[in-house]
């Protein structure tokens, strides 16, 4: 009976606190280390320099994984740029209503190597976003994209 009571209490608590969570600060994982804060534009201009080092980025959340809450996109200080903060499913669950809120994330920058085909698609999409055009044939070498694997994330209220 005690277990049933505890489970009922947990479900009721989750239902009651959910609407309140819309306005609250949300913390995931470990504390944020603000001493190692880097602008996203600086980071993306020279990502190799920051690989596997502890860094903190800050910015507006402009996208959230709507299925498992396993990633958020943080807007860069430069136009049309963003950085993905990606966790293993379930490690941190970012709520979809965090869009538009400020966030800080501490973690390590990781590289994902793209194939030549993926690179062509990525670069043409990026050019389109910036209002530019690029001939896919002119892309001859594969590239890497970068994302942050966080140890801690703070979403401000």
């Amino acid at each position: 009976m005690k277990i049933i009571k505890k489970i009922s209490l947990l479900i009721v608590t989750l239902i009651v606190i959910s609407p309140a969570a819309f306005a609250e600060e949300i913390f995931f994982g470990e504390a944020i280390n603000e001493k190692v804060t880097v602008n996203i534009s600086t980071l993306l201009a020279n990502p190799e320099q920051y690989l596997d080092k502890e860094i903190t980025v800050a910015g507006t959340i402009v996208g959230v994984c709507s299925r498992r809450g396993c990633w958020v996109d943080i807007a860069s200080d430069a136009k049309f740029e963003k950085l993905r903060i990606k966790v293993r499913d379930g490690d941190m669950v970012f709520p979809i209503y965090a869009k538009g809120r400020q966030a800080l994330a501490t973690g390590k920058l990781t590289a994902i190597e793209l194939s030549l085909e993926q690179t062509k698609k990525y670069k043409t999409d990026l050019a389109k976003r910036r209002g530019e055009t690029i001939a896919p044939e002119s892309i001859t070498a594969p590239m890497s994209i970068y994302q942050l694997s966080p140890t801690g994330v703070k979403v401000l209220g």
């Binding site: 009922s8 479900i11 989750l14 507006t60 379930g90 669950v93 979809i96 538009g100």
Partner: protein, 188 residues
Amino acid sequence: MAKKKAINWFKLNRTLHRDIGYLCIGLTLVFAISGIALNHRGDWNPNYIVERSEKAFAESGKAPDEQLNKALLRLFPHTPPIKASYWQSVNQYKLFFDNGGAITVNFSQKSAVYEHIRERVVFKQFNTLHLNEAKKGWLVFSDIYAGLLIFLALSALFMVKGKYSAWRFKRGWLIIVGGAIPAVYIFM
């Protein structure tokens, strides 16, 4: 000297199976309902209801942000206060609101879409439990629950004596089918 009373294992097994079965009803419903919801997450969002409203928007993307914001608020007058804005691309501008909602403007299509987000009450909570998003505390409960399910499965083998026993083919074939279905999926 009083004779020591022997334990009636058959009766004890039935009693435990019954009581543990009662105990597991709530948790089974949580896992089963959210299991169906999560199985179909390719077709719907099991945690949130996203309502979309699309309207024509004729402003130019070259207009200042403030002018765009005012025009968008005139177009969607019942939105909460603006939280932030973001230029996704030269053709896409986003406006975020306090409640997690957002307007996405597509200048090439001359349209603006307002997305309003609401949590699915009950489903969201069930899914949180199912996926162990509540973390440590829930891990203990779900481990205990898994152990109880194993007990229910094994104790079911000793619930009935006679021709309807799990050990006779008259009903035992059901166990074979139950084991064969996952085996077929694994080896096919």
